[in-house]
Structure formats: structure tokens, C-alpha cells
Symmetry: C2
Subunit: 423 residues, 2 copies
């Protein structure tokens, strides 16, 4: 069987060109574990990590209340069209294996999964209780999803019995907001057993190595409220992930490190640098960070603030947050806005990190804006539809300033400029 | 005549309490010029500056294509309801004096204006050319608006003949994006004369002192593309503003300093600190900063990213940017979203700066979220409507995770917590 993540020389060259790094830099990053390539079996590779463009992931998936795969395939098309680099199937409703297969078959971008969901859903269906899941059933689920060719999988390998006991002290405002994390924690508490994924991390590494699946080491203890940010549970889990990242790397298994969570603005940079340090520079994959808890309905914006700052500080992969976060399952409109918003954060960080293609794009759209070239603005806009919808696209100025257009007034101040800058 | 900005002891006390600083701190800030109080004649005062909560301004105003005051009054109500702290009337269409009077009469929050607009619109109506405006007409307009009782006015006092000559070199991608700045620059270029507001800054200070109007020293040279960020024109103007801020302070006239503009993420903190340093700690009033040019339709989000980072670094007053920025005049829906989005940036910075009321609010909404208390979430949400619209508000979990609710699972891990944390 061909492993997902092995690249030939031609692929290395193409991938390096896409990331605007040299093939040697890409090879060095893969070697050191600072770049992780994820790909579906038979699919296109995606490079995530040091020196690469910041990437965006979109979560889709059924829920018990909305188990239809059709709606999720529609979301898949929407997030691909909006420019998501990867997608995760977080389904918990309907026939999970079928949903995953259909998403894998339809997706042109790498697909990630969270096997603990499938194992837990099965346990609930069979025994009416998550804690009755057998450890072996979890391993079987992991192997089945890896064998199914997913590009990467989230595994909550840092949720330890020790942390779960510690939570009983009641220090946290909200104990656990990670779904997989909370399910595993309940299992640990009910069975008075260590997390199988932590206890036998080597088995996980072997499965990942066998199928070429990247391991995304999940942050089951990510803070779910800014009051819980950077607490001992979060950091203790991170230390475990760091140790596991090193172990996986020794076995040649590429990893991603999942990061927090709800983090106030002044702790974002520190958290990113800490995670990078503790995890030996492994690519950092963030959900958020959400820099405040108080804006349900706007959490895509809240996370774009945190995500931009985090990516400037070194985070590599941003999981989108949609306007539905904390409120309900997103629809097509929400997933689309989620992707566009996360792409703003990623692009702002790429600009800050000096990626040449990012600045080029800003130069192009600003030149078009200066020239009141609406077709050009549409061409280079994040979401061309927004320009197309705008009023006044036929005129030499827009309805905001009307005839008092600063662009029109001030271009006369340096007549030679246009030739020089827009060549 | 009672000056707008003079506060009695009772007002000082109330204002300090609102800002969660001591009356002594407020007095010291007013004395040093690091806090500026703005108020309409007869209206409530608003403190902006060091140690205070970050404030949000909303721009409204007619345009030549949409001259009706009624629509602007509707926007005024919308931005007040969404929580704007101040509003600026940027009208350029219809009967400007009447529009301003009606907005002043209806507004419960401080109103700012930009007198150069009125002067320029009059010149265009009278002579069909902005450059034919007489300097005296500009001074009359300024005095009329100050006498009308506006709380603060933007004056582009740093747009110098020297800078306008410099722009002819064509270094900038977009010369000027400030409307007032571009109008003044054209006037300067056409008349080969210095900017009257710069040349006779003392006269401006005298008018402001007479009526108790705060001066918002405008950034006519703010970069309008990230490629132009932190260039010599922007910084040269800033140096002038710093000198003028000191002069105004010597005369007891409170100032605000208007900041950039389009600034890439990695230059935001530096720009804020530079402006604060050069302007002797005067309150910094930002439009944006927009951290990329490439997202028309999403510029409220783009500016929230920059605004949050800037306010964390010390900016005091954020001018909202609406989703219509770069595309057209915003409607009611856009101004509302603009305010909410700017408030996210302000609040995220308040959290980062340790303002007690900000953290309290996050604690309250997160406690409600943990407890699936939808009424509580609605009460503490930035925009309660967003919670009200959400699905599943009657149930013990939401449609995102359904029965696999991490809150519900994980609360069992520490049964004593609720009493301790949500008292």
C-alpha cells in the first residue's frame, strides 16, 4: 500500500513552489518535523508548517439532529469554493462510515477525522453509555479510519487520568469543551483507567505509520472560557503532546499539535511560542483562539482576531470558527463565511510573515482600487461576489464618497505614479 | 457660555466610576492630556484615553447620492442601540447644517464632525471646484460647527505643502485615501499655499478653546494600502500632529490623535507606540487599522483584527469600519454590524488590559454557557439577538453537538464547581 505522506521529487518541487520555499527548505522541514504534509490516499498533498503559507481547515459533519450526508456534501463544496485548504469530518449522526466515505470520495482537499467520535457513537448506540466503550473498539475505529485513507486524524492523546482527577478540584470555570476530550474524560473517570491513547501511544504511532496518516494531537483540555486560559490543565496536556510529538517523529510519523481554545489577546503570542517550543517546532493547528467569550454569533470574527495574531506568532494551520459557534450546527452560509473569515486571518499573518504572494495580492487589489477598476478589484478580492454585489461598480467613484472621491482627487498629485507602480 | 469639556466634581466621580479608574487618575489624565473628555453641548461626557475602557465611534452621514437626513437618523438609532460610544457626522449631501443639527438634537452620544467637508461642499456648489474655497470660508465653517456644540471635530492639520510636493515623486501606491486630506491636498497643490489649519494652528486652538470642542487631529496621510504603511509621509504628518498636540495642550484644548489606516499586522503595535510617544500620550483614535487590502465586504473583520491588536498596544478609540468599506455607503444593517464588530475588538483589548468589567462579562456569559442557561447567555451576549435567533434554545444542549455535549459530559467531573464559581 502506498503511504499517503510519501512524496516523490516532482511532488516536492511542486509543493515547494506552491509554498514559495525551496525544495531544500521543504525537505528540511519534513525531516525536522516542522513541516507536516497531509494527503488523502490518492489525493493532492498539502504542506503545513514552518515557512509555508498559513492554511485553513473547515469542519463539517452530521449531528444526531441532522444526520443527512447530502447537507454535508453541500457544505464541502461551499468550503472548497471559499478556499479551505482542508476539511474535517466531525460527524456524529447517521451512518458515520458512509458519511466519511462519501466526503472522502467527493473531496478535492485533505480530509481529517476524529475516530473517538465514531467509537463513542457506537458505544452509545450499543450500550446507551459512552463509558461502556471498550478500548479495543476505539483502536479498531482508529485503524478503520486510517485504512480508509484519511489524511489526518485528531487523537486526544494528552487527556490523562491525572488531569481528569485534577478537574475534580473545580478550578475551571468550564471543565472541558472539546467533544472528544470530554467523552474520553468521562470514560477515564467512569472506568478508573488511563486514556488508552496515552497509555499505548506507540500503538497509535504504528497505525499511523502503517497507513501514512498524520496524527493531529488534540487539545482535549483547551480552555473554553478566557478565565481558564493557560491554566495548569492546558499546559500539563501540552507537555504530554510535546513528548508524544517527539516519539512520533522518531517513528517517522508526521504530527500536528492542536492548540487552544479561548485565550485572551495578551496571552496569544505566548501560548503559540510555548506550544512551538514544547513540541519541538511541530506545526501548530489552532481552533481560534477566541479572544473573548461574549460574542456568540460573531465567533468567526472573535477567532479571526486571535487566529491572525497566533499565525503571526507562528501558528501554521487555522481551523475556522463559524458564526454558529456556541449556538448550533452551521449551515452552508455559515461555513462559507467561516472559511472567508479564517482566510483573512491567515492572509494577514502571511503578509506579516513576508510571504511574497500575499503582498502581491494586496498590491494588485489596491492598484485596482486606486484606478476604480472594479473588474480588477473583483478579480483579486477574497470573495469576488462581495465586489459584484456592490453598488456603483460602473462608475468612476463609489456611493461612499460620491464625487468627493479621495482616490480621484489625489491621483492628480503624482501623474507619473500609475505607470511606475502598476506596470 | 458653558464649555463642553469642563467637568464638575460630581461628573468627575461618575465618569471615573464608569471607567473603573479613580477620580484622581481621571484628573491626572485630563491634566496630562492622556485622557480627553468629549461631550456635546449639554450632553453626557465621554472619557477617552489612558486607563479608560476602549471606545467605539460610528461614522454616519449623507452622501451626494443619498442626501436624506431620515436615513442617517435611522443609522444613528441603530449605532446607539448597538452600543457605539460616539458618532461622527460625515455628511456631504443635502443641507449639511440641517443634517448636523438634526443628528445633534437626536443623539444621546457625543457627535463629531469634519468641517472641511462642509467648506469643500460649499465651494463645489458655489464655484464648481474645491480649490476655489477661500481659507476664510474654512475658518467660518469650523467656527460654525464648534459654535453648534459638536463634541469633537476632525481637522487635517498635518497635511502640509511639503508633503503634498513630496507625493509628486510617486512613491505611494495610493496617494491619499482620507477624503478631507485629499481635498485639502488638492487645494494646497492648486493654490500653491500652505494648509491654513497648519499655518495658523493657533487660530484653531482658540476656536476650540472658546467652545470647548476637542480637536481630533486627522491623519490625512494615513496609508490606504498596506504597501504604503509606515512610510515617510505618514510619519512626517504624525510628527506635525505631535507638535500640535503639545501646543493645544498648553492652551488647555483636549485632543485626539487619528491613526492609520492600512497597516500590516506586524507593524500595528509599533505604529501605536510610535504615535503615543510622538504625541505625548494623547488618546489615539484609529480608523482600522486594516491589516490587509484584499477583503472588500469583510473590512469590518479586517479592521477588528487590527483594532484589537492596536487597542491592546494602547489605542483608545476605535472608529468602526463597516462591511461596506471600499464598496459603498453603508446602510442600517452594515452600520450595526460595524459597531458590534468594533466592540469585539475594544472588548478583547479591555480584557487584555485587565479592565475588571470586561472579565466580569466573560465570566458571566461563560457560566451561563456551561449551565446551558440560554436566558443568561442572551443577557450577557454582545448582541442578544444572535442568541435569540439560535436553534435549540429550549434544550439542555444545542444542535452543534446534540447529545454529545461537552459541557454536559464534563460538568460531572467536578460536582462542587458550580457553587464555587457561579456564586
Amino acid at each position: 500500500m502506498r503511504k499517503n505522506a510519501i512524496l516523490n521529487a516532482r511532488e516536492i518541487e511542486l509543493l515547494a513552489r506552491r509554498e514559495e520555499i525551496t525544495p531544500a527548505e521543504l525537505r528540511a522541514g519534513l525531516e525536522s518535523g516542522q513541516i507536516t504534509v497531509v494527503r488523502n490516499r490518492g489525493g493532492r498533498p498539502l504542506a503545513i508548517g514552518a515557512g509555508c503559507y498559513v492554511k485553513v481547515n473547515a469542519n463539517i459533519g452530521t449531528s444526531p439532529a441532522r444526520p443527512e450526508v447530502k447537507a454535508e456534501l453541500e457544505k464541502l463544496r461551499a468550503v472548497e469554493a471559499a478556499g479551505a485548504d482542508a476539511v474535517m469530518d466531525l460527524s456524529t449522526g447517521g451512518d458515520l462510515a458512509r458519511v466519511r466515505r462519501e466526503i472522502m470520495a467527493a473531496s478535492r482537499i485533505p480530509v481529517g477525522s476524529v475516530p473517538v467520535y465514531g467509537a463513542m457513537v457506537n458505544a452509545v448506540r450499543k450500550y446507551k453509555a459512552v463509558q461502556k466503550m471498550s478500548a479495543e473498539a476505539l483502536w479498531e475505529q482508529i485503524e478503520a479510519e486510517a485504512a480508509g485513507g484519511v489524511a489526518f486524524m485528531t487523537v486526544h492523546t494528552g487527556v490523562s487520568e491525572r488531569i481528569v482527577r485534577g478537574l475534580a478540584d473545580g478550578e475551571r470555570l468550564i471543565n472541558i469543551v472539546s467533544r472528544g476530550g470530554s467523552l474520553l474524560a468521562c470514560w477515564i473517570a467512569a472506568n478508573r483507567r488511563e486514556n488508552p491513547l496515552l497509555e499505548d501511544f506507540g500503538r497509535l504511532v504504528k497505525i499511523a505509520a502503517r497507513y501514512g496518516t498524520a496524527l493531529s494531537l488534540g487539545d482535549g483540555l483547551r480552555p473554553g472560557a478566557v478565565a481558564d486560559s493557560t491554566d495548569r490543565f492546558q499546559i500539563e496536556e501540552l507537555l504530554t503532546l510535546g513528548r508524544q510529538a517527539a516519539e512520533a517523529r522518531r517513528a517517522g510519523v508526521p504530527v500536528l499539535i492542536e492548540g487552544p481554545g479561548h485565550i485572551p489577546l495578551h496571552q496569544v503570542e505566548m501560548n503559540v511560542k510555548l506550544a512551538k517550543q514544547v513540541c519541538h517546532g511541530a506545526p501548530l493547528y489552532l481552533l481560534g483562539p477566541l479572544v473573548t467569550d461574549f460574542a456568540p454569533g460573531y465567533d468567526h470574527i472573535v477567532s479571526a482576531i486571535g487566529g491572525a495574531l497566533a499565525a503571526m506568532a507562528g501558528a501554521d494551520f487555522l481551523c475556522y470558527v463559524t458564526p454558529s459557534e456556541h449556538l448550533g450546527l452551521p449551515g452552508v452560509k455559515e461555513v462559507r463565511e467561516g472559511v472567508y473569515t479564517a482566510r483573512i486571518a491567515a492572509h494577514a499573518a502571511d503578509l506579516a510573515r513576508g510571504k511574497p504572494g500575499a503582498l502581491e495580492r494586496d498590491l494588485r487589489i489596491s492598484s485596482a482600487r486606486r484606478d476604480r477598476d472594479w473588474a480588477g478589484q473583483k478579480r483579486w478580492a477574497l470573495n469576488p461576489e462581495k465586489v459584484a454585489e456592490a453598488v456603483g461598480t460602473e462608475s468612476d467613484f463609489c456611493s461612499m464618497c460620491g464625487e468627493f472621491c479621495s482616490m480621484r482627487f489625489s491621483e492628480k498629485l503624482s501623474p507619473a505614479k500609475r505607470k511606475r507602480k502598476n506596470g
